[in-house]
């Protein structure tokens, strides 16, 4: 297979949109996190993701135009990252699922010599902190009180059907998708079991699972998120600080 410039740009768009959208969702916690330390932690994770998004979207075109002037159908992010923050447990479940995936993906890309290797080598170390943060919270909430356990279980169950999409191959991204999925199931399963949680059993792929974000089909909350994210730029074209 010949990897063309266009293929790389399309792949950069998919990975960049994941980072951008999750960054925005995490930014929504600013001013609302349960404690100050979490406020800072979630904002820092969002900032790391925004940095990755800027590098990736710049490989696909003009970063601002791509972020602020595309319509919903033109975004290529996973449906998982656009899911609303929900309660804190939902945010942590989303973080656990996604950071475990991103860590495996970047580790693989960093080991290769493709166009994403330089970014992946840098970002994989940042993502290791994101994953650790999500893992520690999953353990605390899962193995915490009855209420925190129930909420964490509910969150893990609710987001489970979005996790199959992560391993649909992205054209232009040189990764061992099947191997990544096996490793992901093993590592996430291990964290959930240690947190006294049950690994969800619902379908992750097929008719009853979700996931067509890479094809530009998104869930209902995404449009509202975009409206908020793009409002300022669209209302005041060319505005700057």
């Amino acid at each position: 297979m010949t990897v063309t410039v266009d293929t790389t740009a399309a792949a950069a768009l998919a990975l960049g949109d994941d980072a951008l959208v999750l960054s925005h969702r995490l930014g929504e916690w600013a001013g609302h996190a349960p404690v100050l330390e979490e406020e800072v932690a979630l904002a820092n994770i969002a900032l790391d993701l925004l940095g990755q998004a800027r590098v990736l979207l710049s490989m696909a075109g003009d970063e601002d135009e791509l972020a602020y002037l595309r319509e919903e159908r033109a975004f290529r992010n996973l449906q998982l990252v656009e899911q609303p923050n929900g309660d804190f447990a939902h945010t942590i479940a989303r973080q656990l699922y996604f950071s475990a995936y991103q860590q495996l993906l970047y580790a693989g890309l960093a080991a290769g010599d493709g166009p994403f290797a330089p970014l992946a080598a840098k970002a994989v170390k940042e993502v290791a902190y994101h994953r650790d943060h999500a893992e520690q919270w999953t353990l605390r909430l899962g193995d915490g009180t009855d209420v925190s356990h129930d909420r964490m279980q509910r969150a893990c169950d609710a987001l489970w059907r979005f996790t199959g999409e992560m391993f649909q191959p992205v054209n232009g991204v040189d990764a061992d998708w099947a191997g990544m999925e096996t490793a992901w199931l093993e590592s996430v399963g291990e964290v959930l079991r240690r947190a006294t949680l049950t690994v969800p059993e619902g379908p992750r792929t097929g008719a009853w699972a979700a996931g067509a974000g890479r094809q530009g089909l998104h869930t209902e909350p995404f449009g509202r998120m975009l409206a908020e994210m793009q409002h300022l730029h669209r209302s005041h074209p060319g505005a700057s600080w």
Partner: protein
């Protein structure tokens, strides 16, 4: 091998003496983010700068400060380019930088075991020594009193590159520059 001219070495020193916008006790040289300076002609210069974290917002302020310093040094056409390879690591912070961080009240990042030859010895045959944990090479010392008895309060702190800890001896909270 790429050779550096005396002018490039001088400009690297000038750019390297610019203070970090978020940690002004450190210079960019001590932080280890300046990769190279290339001079083209008499007054055109290209600077290669690498970010600490991919999303580090300080990189733009650094670029502006470098430009100003080099302009004052007679350069006219200045380009600051961000490079990602080789990726910055906290091991790039100089020894002097580590000393300054500690004086500033920030626990410096711990140095990882250098890659390369390691002494191999025959271990005890009947008992098992604990495996060294590569993720936790040494205790984090309190920058105020030097105690190793410190605890993690939050994995993220005032900037992406720091964690918040507390000393269990002098009870002072402090920032720890996370290993990356």
């Amino acid at each position: 091998m790429v050779t550096t001219t005396p002018l490039e070495a001088e400009l690297l020193r000038v750019a390297g003496s610019v203070p970090d916008p978020e940690l002004p006790v450190l210079t960019l040289h001590e932080l280890g983010v300046l990769r190279a300076v290339h001079v083209h002609g008499t007054d055109a210069v290209e600077v290669e700068l690498t970010p600490t974290y991919t999303g580090c917002p300080a990189i733009e302020a650094m670029s502006v400060d470098i430009e100003r310093a080099l302009r004052e040094h007679g350069m006219r056409d200045i380009t600051v380019r961000t490079v990602l390879t080789p990726a910055w690591s906290t091991d790039d912070i100089t020894d002097e930088g580590r000393r300054k961080l500690r004086r500033f009240g920030i626990a410096p990042p711990r140095v990882r075991e250098p890659a390369g030859p390691v002494p191999v010895t025959l271990g005890p045959l009947r008992t098992r020594a604990p495996e060294p944990d590569p993720a936790d090479p040494a205790p984090v010392r309190c920058p105020h009193c030097g105690s190793v008895d410190t605890e993690l309060l939050s994995r993220f702190s005032s900037t992406a590159c720091k964690a918040l800890r507390r000393c269990l001896d002098c009870r002072e909270p402090f920032d720890h520059f996370k290993e990356l």
